[in-house]
């Protein structure tokens, strides 16, 4: 029938919104739900910690208070001395996060920019360590570490294993950061202005995923700081292994709580410092 070629028509007006009263009521219910969920989860996490705190101050008879369990950590002489295992754990945290980031950041940006077709395979590889229990990893790693032991290298050598363990967490954090920016347009804009691939990666893309890099760093460091299974079974001493041996070598039952809390506090304070420093850096950038 009719014969007219037409261009697009104006969109229809949006349907009228709901009355404000209903929205306010809904928001109130939602807020109440949030508070309930928050309280439940806070109780779930905090109650065991509070119980640990209480038991770490338990005296020799039930119901009394004492700081003996904490004193025992401070006065522990080793071998090795506690301070050296703190050092080792700190160095392991730093090394693990730096190596993980140095491996993942350029690789992931490169894959996103140039070889998108292998991204699925790369994701699978990075997430694989999640599916393998640490103890199974040890079975595979033990012969390698037995050879390394001949060279009398320090517990720092654990970072190879920790980098593998940290891969899934760091990958997820970095992938979220990469997804949040328009990598293709930014890189093409930079290239059209004369930037080479190295400049695109490190002066254009990486600074725009600073938050993701910081998250990956925190996760990798947290993993290395809290790791026990691999270090213990491969016979290396990090802070976690040291705290465990303090607890084992004392008849005071409260020490197990004080050492666990000390390990937790150590990691928590450290991550808080790193996170705070990262936020200051970001604010400075803006």
């Amino acid at each position: 029938m009719a014969a007219v070629t037409s261009v697009g028509e104006a969109p229809l007006a949006a349907p009228a919104g709901r009355p404000r009263g209903m929205q306010a009521g809904r928001r109130k219910r939602l807020n109440a739900f949030r508070y309930v969920v928050f309280t439940l989860f806070a109780a779930f996490f905090l109650l065991p910690l509070l119980a640990m705190l209480r038991f770490s101050f338990e005296g020799s008879t039930l119901g009394t208070w004492s700081v003996a369990a904490w004193k025992q950590i401070v006065s522990y002489q080793g071998p090795p001395p506690l301070i050296s295992s703190v050092e080792i754990s700190l160095e392991l945290g730093l090394l693990t996060s730096v190596v993980t980031l140095a491996l993942l950041v350029p690789t992931m940006i490169w894959i996103r920019l140039r070889v998108q077709w292998i991204s699925r395979a790369f994701e699978f590889l990075c997430l694989l360590p999640l599916t393998i229990p640490a103890i199974v990893l040890v079975v595979g790693l033990a012969p390698v570490y037995n050879k390394i032991r001949h060279y009398e290298l320090s517990a720092l050598m654990l970072f190879w294993a920790y980098v593998i363990l940290a891969l899934p967490y760091a990958y997820r954090a970095l992938a979220a950061g990469l997804n949040a920016i328009d990598v293709k347009t930014l890189s093409e804009a930079a290239r059209s202005l004369g930037a080479r691939w190295f400049t695109v990666m490190f002066r254009v893309i990486a600074p725009n995923m600073w938050q993701a890099i910081l998250n990956a760093l925190l996760l990798s460091a947290a993993l290395a700081l809290g790791e026990f299974t691999i270090a213990y079974t491969l016979l290396y001493v990090n802070l976690q292994v040291e705290l465990y041996s303090i607890d084992r070598n004392t008849p005071n039952a409260s020490v197990i709580f004080s050492t666990s809390l000390a390990a937790l506090l150590f990691a928590f304070v450290l991550l808080l410092i790193v996170s705070y420093a990262g936020r200051r850096r970001r604010r400075g950038m803006r």
């Binding site: 009719a2 007219v4 070629t5 290239r191 059209s192």
Partner: protein, 372 residues
Amino acid sequence: MTSPQTQNARKVAGRAAVEVRMEGLSRRYGAVVALDGFDLTVQAGELVALLGPSGCGKTTTLRLLAGLEDADAGTITVGGSDVTGLPASKRDMGMVFQAYSLFPHMTVRQNVSFGLRLRRVGSAQRDRRALEMLELVGLSSQADRYPHQISGGQQQRVALARALAIEPQVLLLDEPLSALDAKVRAQLRDEIRRIQLDVGITTLFVTHDQEEALAIADRVGVMREGHIEQLAPPVDVYSRPSTSFVAEFVGLTNRLPGTVSGSTVTVRGRDLPLVDLSTPGGTVTALVRPEAVTLAPDSGGPASSGPLTGTVIASTFLGATSRVTVDLGDLTIMAQLSTADAAEHPAGSRVSLTIRPDPVLVSVDAPADVEA
């Protein structure tokens, strides 16, 4: 008297304009042919707009020229030198993208001077040039803001300043206005044209918006399936389309059944001159612009049941003009009138139509009774 911005443009126009020549360019994506033996020459200092529907190959052309993709075949020469094998970073072309492309972690000033920094221009000179460019786009007061602190239109202006700051040989604009609202789009469109004329840079502009292409370009290339259907000044593309595709893509077109004999086509009893005199005789579809159709109240006399009388079924207000749809019984036809004239023909009124005897293009490939 020249404006300060024009004077500034003369200051920033660092080098002579060059000719861009693309010959036999081909690009495939798997089985899909995006460009097939594409040829285009953009004269020095000219602004050519590539216009076409999605998937016609216009963006591919721009990306091949920018070096963001490699051509399967063909050559690209800029100012006489072959750049086909050069990477994007060495092509010396400024590009403004459809998506906001400012670097979020840099201020406006740092964004504009980024290209100069890569060229190792000293910081004082870099700053001076960045400010000159920002003055050119009217944004020198925003130099220390971050991209998220300025509007979309301002971001695209900064992107334009950034592209021009490196004194490129060619400016490439990849639908830079499509993310903006209508008013800002029209303003920035005019501004881009002003700056392009002032700086005198050879420019390729890609758009799917016909109004934008017609308003801004020296020549418009209408693309279809990897090749240019017509490359001509905007007036010619609109009023003398060379193919039925161009006629239908650029502007609104009535498709009316007609019969060709000699140098005319007869449409509902009216003889209209043909654009293409070599059209063979027979039944065709005539493509008639709505503005070539005028309306008059039907007197109710003997002609009231003639082939060009009908009933107004709708009137669409477009501002200064209105589009009136008339039902002729066996087909509908659109007329574009001034709003004052359209008001005389409300929906339901009987009207008689006159078709202005402008040369018309006919299509022999599509039957007229198909609703488009």
